[in-house]
Structures are given as structure tokens and as C-alpha cells.
Symmetry: C2
Subunit: 151 residues, 2 copies
């Protein structure tokens, strides 16, 4: 199978990768989640070429992750804003960043992540929506898979 056929695979991970499975795209999302909206802001932060950046932003707009909005009429200027679908990727990127900080043997810029609810620097933890306890690889099981219709 070629990667271009991946959209035919009814697996949520494969479907997600069809939308955000590109490294430049993930860097764009990182910056958008921290407030970047302008093409030039994304270019400075990601250091992608203009052609690469333009292609990736269009892909995200096409998949409903970002929207392109005109914010000035004369001259016409646009910015890229995360949609609710895009903003919902924040937990994914936060866990990815946390993994990198805690498991990769390289010096990285600290994200200095702070929880404004309590005011503390924190590590993101995954917990269960039903009992509130920690979810670990050892405490998750998977029922046999099946095709579900979703809205």
C-alpha cells in the first residue's frame, strides 16, 4: 500500500496521520497553539520554505483544522486561525512534547508549561474519564475492533 491510499484505512490513527502526519504540519500546529496566525510568524518559527509552508497551511484548511480569514481589506491580508478541530489537537502536542522532554537524550528548550488553574509548573497526566485514576499502558485493554458509524 502507498501512503496516499491511507485514507481508505478505517483506523483512527491512520486517519489522523492523513491529516497531520507530516513533521512541518506538526510544527505549524505547535506555533498556532501558542498564538501564531500570520504566514510570516509561521515561517520565522518553523523555518520552512514559503512553498512548503503554503502547501501545509492549505492542507490544514482543507481538512478543517485551520481557517483562512481576511483580517484587513485594503490591502487584503489573511491569517490562519485554528478551528475547534485544530484546537482539540493541543493534548496530542502536549503529550508529544512531554515525551520528548522526559525520554529523549537531547538538550531542548524548556516549554515552561504552567497550569493556570493552580499556578504550578506541571507534567501532563492521562487519566480516565470514568474513574479519574491514571491511565497507563498496563491499564488499557482493547475490545475486538469493529466498524462504527460516526457523525
Amino acid at each position: 500500500m502507498r501512503w496516499s491510499e491511507i485514507e481508505t484505512v478505517p483506523c483512527p490513527v491512520a486517519q489522523a496521520m492523513a491529516v497531520i502526519g507530516d513533521s512541518w504540519t506538526v510544527l505549524i500546529l505547535r506555533d498556532a497553539l501558542r498564538g501564531a496566525t500570520k504566514f510570516d510568524e509561521f515561517q520565522t518559527a518553523t523555518r520552512a520554505s514559503r512553498a512548503t509552508l503554503s502547501e501545509r497551511l492549505s492542507h490544514l484548511v482543507e481538512h478543517g483544522v485551520m481557517e483562512k480569514v481576511q483580517y484587513e481589506a485594503h490591502p487584503p491580508r489573511h491569517e490562519y486561525r485554528l478551528t475547534p478541530r485544530g484546537r482539540a489537537l493541543q493534548p496530542v502536542l502536549m503529550m508529544l512534547s512531554h515525551w520528548s522532554e522526559t525520554h529523549l537524550p537531547v538538550k531542548t528548550r524548556s516549554t515552561g508549561r504552567r497550569h493556570t488553574t493552580c499556578g504550578h509548573k506541571f507534567s501532563p497526566m492521562v487519566t480516565c474519564s470514568e474513574c479519574g485514576e491514571a491511565v497507563t499502558p498496563e491499564t488499557v485493554s482493547y475490545d475486538r475492533t469493529r466498524i462504527d458509524a460516526k457523525g
Copy 2:
């Protein structure tokens, strides 16, 4: 900047993408986290070509995410096992899968994710290590970035 230079960028998200920023790699990790260890198991599940799969597995071994272990001497047979670094990617893939299930408008195979601690089907939630409350995009702030030495 080309993507091959990304390892020079001291950002945890960029560093993570240098290791797992490839769609086939993410599918391999998905299957490894559900117990796949054999080359043929990965090939059946991901439908990647043997060359692609071999290259991606080597990359994961090189970065300490998986290890190649001989499990039979005559004839020599090997399998690929997740290291602690690889197993620690489980929350990332779980949040990615959850995002796909809840935010993409496509039919996917349900993961039927169950928390064995309480026995319920659940949604993974991100909470704060310090206060235990929910972490949302609106309740995270970032201090100014700096370079941190890490072990």
C-alpha cells in the same frame, strides 16, 4: 531549512518529530503498543512495503524506541520490542486516536478502549500532575523559553 536539519532545533516537538515524525512509523508504534513484535505482524497490520517497514524499524531501533532481539537461534529469528522510551509513547498515540475518533468526520474502526482499573470504556483526559484538575488549551501558559540541559 530542510527537514534533515531539524535535529539542530532545540525544541521538544521538533526533536520528537525527528524520531517519530513519519506516518508509517506511527502505524508501527500503534501496532507495537498492541503487542505486535514480528516483522510479518507489522507488515500485515500496516500494509507497508517490506523495504519501508525495514527502514522504519531500523530508525526506531537506532533512536532507542525499539530493540531488535533474537528469540530463536536455529534458524536465527528476531523480533522488535518497545523499550521504555517506546512504551512511553502510548499516551501520545492514545490522545491522537481519541482526537481522530472525536473530531474527524470519517468512519473508523472503534478502538473499544477500556480502563482495566475501573473496567469502563473511557475517554483519555489530560490532567495536571500538581493539582489533578483538567488541563485545557485555555488553562496552560508558557514561560519564556530557555535552553535546559537534560540527562
